[in-house]
């Protein structure tokens, strides 16, 4: 093959790094992603790792993967199938062989393909034969041997030497994609600034990998993915949990309030508590509570005392917080409860993604207990929806549940940094000091919002609590009063609709099919609908970020389509909600409950089937 024949120009490419959970694949993937972002590609990443920090070595259960999809134009998914798979051991091949594109490249560390490891991975004898891997372009490199050779003069202990293996693989991938090593070397320098020998070892191995790929070039294709043409401006890569944390910081600044987070560590939400705990410079009061209940109760206390208060969790934690959410509903205090969903029920699949907490968010409480429910839909728009959730909570004096998921939380993508001036002001209904009696549940006649009198404000002393009250705040068991207050609280939430933007469709206002989704599936549904439209199908997409209340024009949007199909990563929760809200309409469904995102392939296939029904 001559050089020009080997260069494959592509609009987009998917790379998956895969190895034992101790092999450093998450870091390798992140470094490759950041290098590509700096190069100017659009991208989206998806880490996929086991719940155990060090799962049994060499087994399929212990495989940790990091997939990144880089492209010239807008990239919305991590990609269904990998063009390049880096597999550090046989188990990584076993776990991923189904997800490689035909004709794709597999880079393996042949030193790890010993008989013992092959058996451990669950193969009888030869992975290549058993999984018919000859369909792919396999680059078999003795990575472990080459790494040992590269570092033999540095006098490092064998463990440290082996740990640099991932840099060798990364070097090879950089060559394959014509990327330079600068970003990675800078990273190593700042990360290990106190250990020069580690910097040297990793850099040496990184370069050795790069040169090795160059030397064996006859066997390797070179992918060329030109920079994306993106809107002008300042960019950074951001993951969902960071974006969410920063959205709350922006909201607190715009509202002129302190930010309080009361949370208990839980996968995959802990990143938010960690990110905000590091922001003492912005005055954040972060509180690692003794349990989930204390997380929300401290936040509710902070809200009573006048802070923008949030609590963050995942499904099992939301269950524990239910009673306190009821207290927030009853006391009409602003609070945002973030649920970064994972596979359930119970402990379920802690590190995997799912959308199965929607019903819990909408209804999982005692009594008539409506709250605002919203969902972010891309890693970077977690910023926008955190900001909006806080704005609604503060301006309407309501609890808001904001749903994210494991896919958004850990996924990352380039993000155009917004200017703070472009964000709206937030004006909570605060009461100034004064001598006329403060009536806690007196409402604005139009919005039904009550006012917020913060302890420390002279003359506004009052009592609130979980018992049913009259407008004046007196405990009351009067039947008519209870019914009145229940209806007021519900109507107040319903009137948040004034803050909910109209639902936009991607595609047309009418057609054969409207694909309907919510939350973290946006990228996959959008890409599927795009491809279906390219194939001439009359399919459009309506994706929801506001679930309670729904956008005011929802029924109107639905009315333009022959078939309404709801796709979600659960057994059918949003569809049941829509059926309740729109009794006269017929909905069909596409569901997946495997702890994994959709693939565009499966969505498209099911859409075509439903279209042809």
């Amino acid at each position: 093959m001559s050089k020009s024949e080997r260069v494959i120009e592509r609009e987009e490419v998917v790379i998956r790094f895969s190895g034992d959970s101790g092999d450093g694949m998450q870091l390798t993937g992140t470094l490759f992603s950041n290098t590509s972002a700096l190069f100017g590609n659009d991208l989206l990443t998806f880490p996929d790792y086991p719940a155990e920090i060090r799962a049994p070595q060499g087994t399929v259960g212990g495989v940790s993967g990091f997939q990144v999809h880089v492209g010239q134009s807008e990239v919305y998914t991590p990609g269904d199938f990998a063009d390049v798979l880096v597999a550090m051991n046989p188990a990584a091949v076993k776990a991923n062989s189904k997800y490689i594109r035909d004709g794709g490249v597999i880079i393996i560390d042949e030193d790890n393909f010993t008989e013992k490891n092959i058996k451990k991975a669950g193969y009888e004898k030869d992975p290549i034969e058993e999984d018919r891997l000859d369909r792919y372009n396999i680059i078999s490199a003795p990575i472990t041997t080459l790494v040992r050779e590269t570092l033999k003069d540095l006098g490092l202990d064998p463990k440290t030497v082996i740990r640099t293996k991932n840099m060798f693989a990364l070097g090879m991938v950089y060559f394959l994609f014509g990327r330079d090593l600068e970003y990675t070397e800078e990273y190593l320098k700042s990360k290990f600034s106190k250990r020069p020998e580690i910097i040297e070892a990793n850099s040496k191995v990184l370069r050795a990998g790069y040169h090795y790929a160059e030397t064996i070039e006859a066997m390797t294709p070179i992918y060329k993915v030109s920079p994306a043409s993106i809107e002008k401006g300042l960019y950074r890569t951001i993951d969902g949990n960071t974006a969410l944390s920063w959205g709350f910081l922006a909201a607190a600044e715009k509202a002129g309030l302190g930010l309080f987070i009361g949370s208990y560590p839980i996968t995959p939400a802990s990143g938010i508590l960690e990110t905000l705990a590091a922001r003492k410079d912005l005055g954040v009061k972060s509180f690692q509570a003794e349990d989930e209940i204390a997380g929300i109760c401290t936040a509710l206390g902070a809200s009573f005392a006048g802070n923008l208060a949030i609590t963050t969790t995942s499904g099992p934690g939301l269950a524990l917080k239910s009673e306190a959410i009821g207290l927030a509903v009853m006391t009409e205090l602003p609070i945002v409860i973030v649920n970064v969903q994972r596979g359930g029920p119970s402990t379920g699949l802690p590190t995997k993604t799912e959308q199965a907490d929607l019903m819990q968010a909408l209804y999982g409480r005692n009594g008539e207990c409506p709250v605002v429910v919203m969902a972010a839909s891309t890693p970077s728009n977690c910023f926008k929806y955190a900001f909006e959730a806080a704005r609604i909570a503060l301006e309407h004096m309501v609890p808001v549940i904001l749903l994210s998921d494991g896919f958004l939380a850990n996924g990352s993508e380039p993000w155009k940094i917004p200017s703070m001036d472009s964000l709206p002001e937030i004006k909570p209904p605060l009461v100034k000091e004064g001598d006329d009696v403060f009536i806690p549940y007196e409402r604005d006649p139009k919005t039904l919002i009550r006012r917020w009198a913060i302890p420390g404000t002279r003359g506004r002393e009052h009592r609130i609590g979980g018992l049913e009250k009259t407008v004046k705040g007196t405990v009351s068991y009067i039947p008519e009063n209870h019914e009145y207050m229940v209806k007021m609280r519900a109507e107040k939430v319903a009137r948040v609709v004034t803050k909910v933007p109209d639902l936009q469709t991607y595609g047309d206002n009418e057609g054969d099919m409207l694909l309907i989704g919510w939350g973290g599936t946006y990228g996959h549904l959008l890409t599927s609908v795009r491809e279906l439209r390219k194939e001439g199908r009359k399919v459009s997409l309506a994706h929801f970020n506001y679930i309670n209340p729904l956008p005011a024009n929802t029924a109107e949007v639905f009315s333009g389509f022959e078939k309404l199909v709801v796709a979600e990563l659960n057994a059918g929760q949003f569809i049941r909600y829509l059926r309740m809200e729109f009794e006269e309409l017929k909905f069909k469904q596409i569901n997946k409950i495997q702890g994994l995102p959709f693939t565009c392939k499966e969505i498209k296939e099911q859409c075509v089937k439903l279209l042809e029904e």
């Binding site: 300042l234 009361g262 410079d281 401290t298 206390g301 809200s303 009573f304 200017s419 420390g456």
Partner: protein, 338 residues
């Protein structure tokens, strides 16, 4: 905590709500003593926040004219913690009972104490569940016959003071509902102490556990059955002031003065001693055998959680380059698309 000094009368702290505790319930006297303490503290009224959980005593905030938050069962310590961290300028009180704080809220209670959040926890101990009508609580004595233990309980009770000290508590006091004078003093000291202050109030539930503290409150017996501890004073009690406490090996011993034993042989109370050994022994004294200790048993100064949060923020703000959210958004690695 604040400079402003304001004159109040107890009436300024009463709310317009009808008090709904049973007639004769010890809670009425606790309310009177706390109202008196609040007036005497001379802190602007709007700075008080009363937080409660669930139970008879937890109705308390409704009967005060301060800011109040009647929470959910067991969670008052957590809510009060959030209030205090959010605004350390407030004087935050938690009103709770033996069920609310020791059973369903045990986790939050011990962690609030451990963190030393500057809140004042007033724990009404009547050794029974009143609001749910007479089930045993974590402080009911072994063998207590109640609706849910018709043949007597088969479990050991918590000793509130021992639990507080075990959880690294820095302030523990005990008082009796009917002793309004002592109670007022103890509540004031609890309010002024910086850090978590726990006051156990021995309270009588006339309906479901009447007379549980009878021998400690009756005029005829109380001088023999209780000892009021005072800082720097010898631990002397008894109707005639003729009994005292002495160390006997590793244990406390009640001795009679006279016959060669003088005041000099009697222990002197030091609530500021950091070592918790003596305070634990004092908190655990039970009648018969020992007098029950009242007054401030432990009062040790230590950094509070809320002030540590404030000083950490101030320190980091001084050195960080990130001054606002715009700075943060642009921090770290970014690139310009042209």
């Amino acid at each position: 905590m604040n400079e402003e000094i304001v004159e109040y009368s107890p009436n300024d702290f009463k709310s317009d709500q009808e008090v709904r505790w049973c007639p004769g319930c010890g809670d009425h006297a606790v309310l009177a003593a706390i109202i008196r303490a609040l007036a005497e503290l001379k802190i602007p009224k709007e700075k008080f926040a009363f937080i409660s959980g669930i139970g008879c005593s937890s109705r308390f905030p409704y009967y005060l004219s301060t800011y109040g938050f009647h929470g959910i069962h067991g969670r008052a310590s957590a809510i009060a913690t959030g209030v205090k961290i959010a605004n350390h300028d407030l004087n935050v009180w938690q009103i709770t009972g033996d069920g609310d704080a020791m059973a369903i809220g045990g986790n939050h209670f011990i962690h609030a104490v451990r963190r030393n959040i500057d809140i004042n926890i007033i724990l009404f101990n009547n050794q029974i569940y009143g609001l749910t009508k007479g089930q045993y609580s974590p402080t009911s004595f072994r063998g207590a016959i109640t609706k849910t233990s018709p043949f007597g309980t088969v479990e050991e009770p918590f000793s509130v003071g021992e639990l507080v000290i075990g959880a690294k508590g820095k302030f523990f006091a005990r008082t009796i509902d009917s002793n309004v004078h002592l109670s007022t003093e103890v509540y004031k000291q609890a309010a002024l102490h910086e850090g978590t202050s726990v006051v156990e109030v021995l309270q009588n539930c006339v309906i479901f556990n009447d007379g549980v503290h009878k021998e400690l409150t009756d005029r005829e017996t109380r001088d023999e059955t209780t000892i009021v501890l005072k800082q720097g004073e010898p631990m002397i009690f008894g109707k005639n002031g003729d009994k005292g406490l002495k160390l006997d090996g590793l244990k406390l011993k009640v001795v009679k003065l006279g016959n060669g034993i003088t005041e000099k042989d009697i222990l002197v109370h030091d609530c500021e001693e950091n070592n918790p050994g003596m305070h634990t022994m004092l908190a655990n004294m039970r009648y018969p055998g020992y007098p029950v200790a009242l007054g401030v048993i432990r009062c040790v100064s230590a950094p509070t959680y809320d002030m540590s949060v404030e000083s950490q923020i101030a320190k980091i703000q001084k050195i960080s380059k990130i001054k606002n959210v715009a700075d943060l958004l642009k921090s770290g690695s970014t690139w310009e698309a042209k």
